[in-house]
Structures are given as structure tokens and as C-alpha cells.
């Protein structure tokens, strides 16, 4: 592979804290690594672990989950649900051979633009050091997104559409 590896990270943010922290990082012109792409959710409690798997399966090298600090959730305590899911998800991903550095949970209040920027840059560096999320040759070879429709035999039975 030529050049350096640039990881892509999908970041999930909470509308009330970390998304605002990202806004603040912007207004304060804090610079951070461009490798992250943020998705706004209403709350870290909205984070369905499926989103994390989906991002990893679709080519992201890491996933950053962010939310309000414990005790500061806009919806009282939903960030704790994110915490519970994250702690369990992390255990499971480890079993699947995915390095724990690739999926991180960071608390960032609306005031912590600089902290969020710092966390992002640090995570990009860590993942850069890990390299791309490499699936074993076998998994890569089997192309799950290949269109299959052409192979089917025609049927003369009546089928609901």
C-alpha cells in the first residue's frame, strides 16, 4: 500500500452535549484530525449497537460514541444506558478480535469542544497505529454485497409482489 493509512471514524454525538461540543470546537477554531465523520443523535441513549456494527461492516476503521457526562444527561439518565450497552458491546467485539481501541466511549459536555477535539485526534492516532480494520482474507473474498438476483431460476408460480 502506498502512502499512509488514513483511518475513517464514525462518531455518534448527542444533540445536547457532544454535538454542541463539536460546534464549539468549530467556533473556537480548534483543529483536529479530519478522519472523523459525525452523526447527530438526540441522545447517546439512542445509540443502537447495530449502528456500531454497521459502521464497522461498511468500512469504518473505528467508532467514537460520545454523550453527556454521567449525571448530566439531557434526558436525565439515558447516557447510562449507552454506557451499559457500550461495556457489553466492548466485551463482545473483543471476542470477535476487534481491538478495544476501535470503539470508544467519551463523555463530552457542550463546553468541552477542546476536549472532544483532543479525544478525536488521539483516537485517530491510535487507530492509525493499529492499521485498517482487516478482515481475514476469507471474509473479504466472500463478497456479501454482490447482487445475487441474476442467478435465480425463473418461476412460473404466482407470487405476490
Amino acid at each position: 500500500m502506498e502512502g499512509t493509512f488514513e483511518p475513517v471514524i464514525i462518531g455518534f454525538t448527542c444533540n445536547w452535549c457532544s454535538y454542541r461540543a463539536a460546534d464549539l470546537a468549530g467556533t473556537a477554531r480548534v483543529k483536529y484530525a479530519p478522519n472523523v465523520r459525525l452523526i447527530r443523535l438526540m441522545c447517546s441513549g439512542r445509540l443502537d449497537p447495530t449502528f456500531v456494527l454497521k459502521a464497522l461492516a461498511s468500512g469504518a476503521d473505528g467508532v467514537l460514541i460520545t454523550g453527556c457526562h454521567p449525571g448530566e444527561c439531557h434526558y436525565i439518565e439515558q447516557n447510562y444506558k449507552a454506557l451499559r450497552r457500550y461495556l457489553l458491546l466492548r466485551r463482545m467485539l473483543e471476542q470477535m478480535g476487534i481491538e478495544p481501541e476501535r470503539v470508544k466511549l467519551v463523555w463530552a459536555s457542550a463546553a468541552e469542544g477542546a476536549k472532544l477535539a483532543q479525544e478525536i485526534t488521539a483516537m485517530v492516532e491510535e487507530i492509525r497505529a493499529l492499521g485498517p480494520l482487516n478482515w481475514p482474507a476469507g471474509v473479504r473474498r466472500c463478497d456479501f454485497s454482490r447482487p445475487l438476483a441474476a442467478e435465480a431460476a425463473p418461476t412460473n408460480l404466482e407470487v405476490a409482489r
Binding site: E77, K81, L88, L89, P136, A149, A153, L157, V159
Partner: protein
Amino acid sequence: MSENGKPKFAMYWAAGCGGCEIAVLNIHEKILDVDANFEVVFWPVAMDAKYQDVEALPDGAITLCLFNGAIRNSENEEMAHLLRRKSQILVAFGSCASEGCIPALANLTTPYAIFEAAYAGPSTDNPQGFRPQPSWPAPEGELHIPEFYPVVKTLDQVVPVDYTIPGCPPEARQIAAVLDVVIAALRGQATLPPPGAVLGAGGSTVCDECLRLRQEKKINGFARLQHVRPDTARCLLEQGVLCSGPATRSGCGALCPLAGAPCVGCYGPAEGTLDYGARLLSAVASVIDSNDPAEIERILDGIPDPAGVFYRFNLAGSLLHGGR
């Protein structure tokens, strides 16, 4: 149509335990309807047949093919392609074909480790340390055995599939019901469901059929069934026994929970679910009754094998297929 005018039926057993084959026999006298309405052209368990016989058939000659078992090796995949070409309706029959099932748990490890476990170790007598080789020069000529794939795939990951019948194995009454619909459709008395549909199952989850009493859920600790004596009338999950019922497609009649054992999830994901394990994991984690990271970790220690539990039947069909 065949010579006797009956539509052709096939059933094939790929990587799986064979329970699905037995399940078909479990439909009892209904099997007579199969015989009455179909001509069985290929069913290795039930009758002698050669792959060449299938290859010889014109494309689309088989009306209904029930394919059970996952795609573990090149033979499985070849047969999947062959039967797809020859069949009008290809059904992923049972959990292995549709989700990967237990064979797919091997995706958590590598072929090397699998061979080490099978061909070495204390219970294996293999002093020369033989390992399977894809080809071998025998006096009769070069011999081949099917190639062992690095990961287990589901049927629909190698060929397009018309319908899925979930379950490990599918419930006999559900199989019977599906056969009834197909037979009725063949007679023009019914319409087949849209392609891609899941047949022989319900639209909700196992809890819908479970009669155990339920309350709001708060889990303070997980325990394995053998270590606790759960209340016979109350929801098992509420008592810390990890039951997959909430995330598992209904249709089985909640057999396990009603018999006192937690649902293990063999009917697969509910309608519209992209990743079964993630859904179940999210639900279970959400109701852990603690906000303290250390305490949560302690509670999670009660689930020693999360990937194995949440993806017991579903690893090959999941988003990450089992990781690396």
C-alpha cells in the same frame, strides 16, 4: 413437470446436524401429502441419488427445494449454486441455512485452530499429525476433497433465496403449514408470499407466545440456569437467566421458556432486524440495574461468553459475520 406430472421436490443437507431432516419426518402423516403432490428427485438422506442426476435436469426443473445446512466448504457452495439453478423455489430451511446456526460459531476462530482442535489434542489419536489436504495423489489418480472455507456463510450469502423457514429445527406444525400453502399454490388455490419472506413463523417475538408473568425489567446479576432455581411462573430474564425470547422471532410456541429453559434464539431475528445479536445485546444491557461502571462490569461478568450467547444461531448472518 415430471413424467408423472407431479412437481419435483428436493431436499439437501449442507453443513448442519441433520436435525432439519428429522424435523421433516416429524410432520408425521403430512409426509404423505408431500409424496402425493411431489415427485422426490433428490433427497440424499431419504433416497439414493447422484449429483450428476441433478446436473442432468433442465434448469428450473425442481419446483421446491428445501436446503438445510450452512455453507462451510466448497461442496456446500457448489450444491447451493446447482440447486439454485435447477429450482424454482429455493428455501433456506432451518437455522443453519438461514443464519449459520451453531456451525457458524466457528467464525469466531480460524480454520487453523479448528483443525488443531479436531486433529490434535488429547482426545485425538493422530501420531503422524495428519491434517486434511485439499488434494492427494492416490494410485487411482489425484483425489480431491472439498475446500474448507475460512468462514461459514448462510445460503443467501452465496445464492439468492426465495424463502426462509427459521428454527433449529423448524417446528413440525410450521413445516406442515408451509407445505400446505405451497401445495395450494401449485393447485392455483393460493398465492405464494412475496419473495424474501420468512415462512413458518410469527411476526412478533417469542415473548408474544410465552405465558410467563412479566414486570418492568431490572437486572442485578446474570446466572446460568443450572446455578439458580427460577420462579416457574415469572419471566426468566427478570430473574437473571439470559433468555433470548424478547429478540427472537415467534413461531415456535415459546417451547423452551414454557419448559423452564431460556429461549436460545433459534428462530432468529424478528422482522426487520438487521443484526440479531446487537438487538438482543442492546435490550439486555439497557435493563441492567446500575449506573456505576464497576458494578455494571461486575454484572456483565455473569455473561462469560457474550458473542456465543447473543449470536448463538446468528453469527454468519450478522453484520460482522463473526469478526476475524
